[in-house]
């Protein structure tokens, strides 16, 4: 009595959900964080660009006329001090007119000849290794009467330095994410294989080849990695979107920049979308390559 029913052959390796589901969640979180880190990198990059373009590697020292001091002497003292400071590339004492320009916003272009206009020194700094502005200002104040450092630009330099630290941190986080993703995949592979040791043994003994077994398991990891990557990127884009909504339009902040990330002119948008979309691809590749390599190595260790 042979029943002629339509059978559907079951999967060779049991579809044990738990370790792979866990991997999906972890990988999705990792991908999300990778997106945030990449977004941060792009934003920081753009911010630094705009700051440094405004900064043009220059700081201004201003020397006020003091009742009891010879302005030219003070200026040369300041010049010598600045020239011997590490991180300073060039020092130029500006004409009297330059100081007058400084007051223009308040006083207009009226005749200021009889006013005690402050004198300016333009200091070109080494952008890669700027001097310690705080120490420099202290020293200037101590040895030159009426001297002060343009704090606004100093602050911008400090911002740039901070942005660099943040971007290094973002790179570090990206590396950390990759490493732990690889570790996760290896552990998941081992878990899946451990859970199926008996099955793998039997498959070997009925004549299955290593590559055949590896293929059965691999396909799961492929799917897992891709799903997780898409999920993570989806969440990431949603986050940038919300972040973009949180700031006013036209302001020069993160909100604006994250809007720029999403709704930029095509040629830029394509680029940032491309980088973001590389996340699921990299996740899939990490999943596939790592699990395949781990599998082959683990399978070899059995007779």
């Amino acid at each position: 009595m042979t029943r002629q029913k339509k059978f559907r052959a079951g999967p060779i390796i049991p579809p044990e959900a738990a370790p792979l589901k866990a991997l999906t969640v972890t990988m999705a979180v990792m991908c999300y964080l990778a997106c945030l880190a990449i977004g941060a990198l792009i934003l920081i990059d753009r911010a630094v660009e705009s700051w440094t373009s405004g900064l043009s590697r220059e700081v201004t020292v201003q020397v006020r006329l003091m009742q009891d001091a010879d302005i030219e002497k003070e200026l040369s003292k300041a010049k010598i001090l600045l020239e011997t400071t590490v991180g300073v590339v060039n020092v130029a004492v500006l004409e009297r007119d330059a100081g007058a320009k400084l007051l223009e916003p308040w006083l207009g272009t009226s005749n200021l000849d009889d006013l005690p206009i402050p004198r300016l020194i333009r200091v070109t700094v080494n952008e890669a290794a700027p001097p310690d502005f705080v120490a420099l200002e202290k020293q200037l104040k101590k040895s030159v009467k009426g001297a002060s450092l343009d704090t606004h630009r100093r602050w911008e330099a400090e911002l740039t330095r901070m942005a660099r630290a943040l971007s290094t941190l973002s790179y570090a986080i990206l590396v950390l994410i990759c490493i732990s993703a690889i570790a996760m995949v290896i552990f998941a592979t081992r878990t899946v294989l451990d859970a199926n040791r008996q099955v793998v043994d039997v498959l070997h003994l009925v004549g299955a080849k290593d590559s055949y077994i590896a293929r059965q398991i691999d396909s799961r990891f492929l799917k897992t990695g891709f799903m997780a990557g898409l999920l993570g990127v989806g969440l990431g884009v949603a986050t940038f979107f919300l972040l973009g909504l949180s700031g006013t339009i036209g302001a020069d902040g993160v909100a604006d920049a994250s809007r720029g990330l999403l709704f930029a002119p095509p040629e830029i948008a394509v680029w940032s979308y491309g980088i973001l979309l590389s996340v699921p691809i990299i996740a899939t590749v990490i999943c596939l390559v790592t699990s395949r390599m781990a599998l082959i190595r683990m399978l070899r260790s059995v007779l």
Partner: protein, 218 residues
């Protein structure tokens, strides 16, 4: 077909489980292996289906020296051997049908090509009603029969069976013995390890007796 020459086996640093085993299975022969519990019957079978390498001595299977076999050759050799494990080793996540069909599937055969064969065999061992059942719901004897069906489905050149009737009643045991003898008649070399002396006396074949790792022709 199978030739052993003063084979010895020890697990790790333990004592020698098998000592100076030498025998020859001619193609198409039927041979029983008996011996008390712990004598080393299963270990001897493990050597024959290439799950273990001997510590010393020579094993020739299909005219190949086992110690010279590469890892990639193993699957191809194993496909010519059918094994019934003492503890069955069915895959719990596959139906009885899929379990029995496993050796064919692993060889790359399509389901259409083997469905009828598998169903016929299941019918013969009395499992046609359980074709779509999973091993955990099978009774002990049903599992054993499924394991036997899996071992013989690919009509192997060499059949190794370890205690294949320990969980079935005497009537069924006789029926299964007939299956083995039928296969043997068609050319398969059959090597059966068993405690069941009645089974040994019913089958017409050579008997090897193993005691504490030493072989004694009975």
């Amino acid at each position: 077909m199978v030739r052993l020459d003063s084979v010895g086996l020890r697990y790790g640093d333990g004592p020698e489980i098998l000592r100076d085993i030498s025998f020859h299975l001619r193609p198409g022969s039927l041979c029983f292996l008996t011996g008390p519990s712990g004598a080393g019957k299963t270990s001897l079978l493990r050597l024959l289906f290439l799950a273990l390498k001997p510590t010393r001595g020579l094993i020739n299977i299909f005219d190949k020296d086992v110690s010279q076999v590469n890892r990639w050759e193993l699957p191809l050799l194993r496909r010519r051997i059918g094994v019934v494990f003492q503890e069955f080793r069915l895959l719990d996540h596959l139906t009885t049908f899929d379990n029995v069909a496993l050796p064919l599937r692993v060889m790359g055969q399509r389901e259409d090509s083997y469905r009828a064969d598998v169903m016929d065999l299941l019918n013969w061992v009395g499992l046609s009603d359980q074709a779509q059942a999973y091993p955990p719901v099978l009774s002990g004897g049903e599992k054993q029969r499924a394991a036997i069906a899996r071992a013989v489905i690919s009509k192997p050149e060499l059949l190794l069976a370890d205690e294949p009737t320990g969980n079935v009643d005497p009537v069924l045991a006789k029926r299964l013995l007939h299956l083995f003898m039928e296969l043997n008649r068609l050319g398969t070399t059959v090597f059966l390890a068993t405690h069941d002396l009645k089974l040994v006396s019913q089958g017409k074949g050579a008997v090897l007796h193993l005691e504490k790792g030493i072989l004694k022709a009975a």
